[in-house]
Amino acid sequence: MTKTEFLEELNQRLIVLTEEERRDILDEYEQHIDMKVPTGMTEEEVIASFGRISDLAADILEAYHVRPDFVNEERDRKHGGRIFGFWKTKQERMDRGEAAGAGEEEKSGLHIFWEECGKLWEAVMRGCRKGWEGFEKACGRAGRACRRGFQRAGELLEKWAGRLAALCRKPFRKREEEETSLLSEPVGQADETRSREQKQRRRKEGMGIGRAMGNLCRAVWKGCLWCLRWIWNLSWMGAGLMIGFVACMVLYCMGVLTVLLVLGYPVTGVTIGCLGLTLCTVSVTAFCFTLVRIRKKPGSQKHGKKERQEKEEQQEEAVDAAVSDREEEEMIHA
């Protein structure tokens, strides 16, 4: 190893020291080597007589009360170590001389490490928060979609049930109509009004069955929902009550332990543990009760839906009436 190599290596190992101090020490060694060479030794021999550079550097750093292993980390940081890769970018930023660069250079490695830790923690927290918000939003959307889907399915079921009922009744109705028309043909105006009344009544009956089936479906659906809600509520209430009971027990234990602690028994650890358990059980109980869903009062949204349903029914009725009127007219023409 030549003199320049040796000095460069030593400089790297003492990188944690200020420029001035490093210069001071390196000058001493340089002078020593320069003065040793005329006595007949080669540079290599002189440097070999110093022993291992790492030991030498450790000796020098000890004079400043600096841990040598800390210096290794610092060196890695300043020269892009493999393990502390992310520090390299920071150093590069500093080298480029950004606004705060000059001030930051004075900071020790530990400061920078803590700063990085803080940044990492912040990033993780931000990520968690964002993730949770997304999850919540997705859950809400899925829940809404499910509810809407069920409602639509229920409506469709109702509608089809009504139509089916109407279809079933059609043949009977036709035959009756034929009979009445046969009967009423020779009779005058009064009979016509009577037959119209009959038809209206029949129409109402048909609609009544459709509506009844729709109502049945709706009732079953509501019953299911009601059952589910109560199963959910009861299970959470039960869990909450049980854990609440445990919480009471633990609280009692803690009270006893506190008294013992005041009397001088060595139960500090157990008491603290009991305190933790109390807080834990109480919070779990509270959590259980927050999950219990009480039936909401019918809001404006639901109201609107009901109105819409009614409107649809009315429309259907009108269409049915029109259809049967046309049939009737055809009959009369025939």
Binding site: D24, I25, D27, E28, Y29, Q31, H32, D34, M35, K36, S49, F50, G51, L56, D59, I60, E62, A63, Y64
Partner: protein, 108 residues
């Protein structure tokens, strides 16, 4: 010579050398090497540490050949520390010697 022995007395030798007259690094290393056979590289860290602990002061003086040399000058704290070390060393060596003598006499 045992490295641990050397380490203990090195400070005393360096302090005593500088007390007699101000010396620069290389000169001091040569002086110490006359007394104990020591790795010359390790004396500079020792000088650095003792300077940091205010037992030495340093100043630069031009030399006829080469760059200016850094001279070491002992401070009052350094002298006090040297006297203390000397006392300890004497006590220590006296005890070790008397112990060795006793053992020898016992064996006879």
């Amino acid at each position: 010579m045992n490295a641990q022995f050397k380490k203990g007395v090195l400070e005393l030798i360096v302090l005593e050398s500088v007390r007699v007259r101000d010396m620069y690094g290389y000169e001091l290393v040569e002086e110490v090497s006359k007394v104990v056979d020591v790795n010359e590289g390790t004396i500079y860290p020792l000088l650095k540490r003792m300077t940091n602990e205010h037992y030495f002061e340093t100043y630069l003086r031009e030399s006829t050949e080469g760059p200016p040399r850094k001279y070491y000058h002992i401070t009052a704290a350094g002298i006090l520390y040297r006297d203390n070390l000397e006392k300890e060393w004497n006590e220590f060596s006296r005890r070790v010697c008397s112990f060795l003598e006793e053992q020898k006499r016992g064996q006879r």
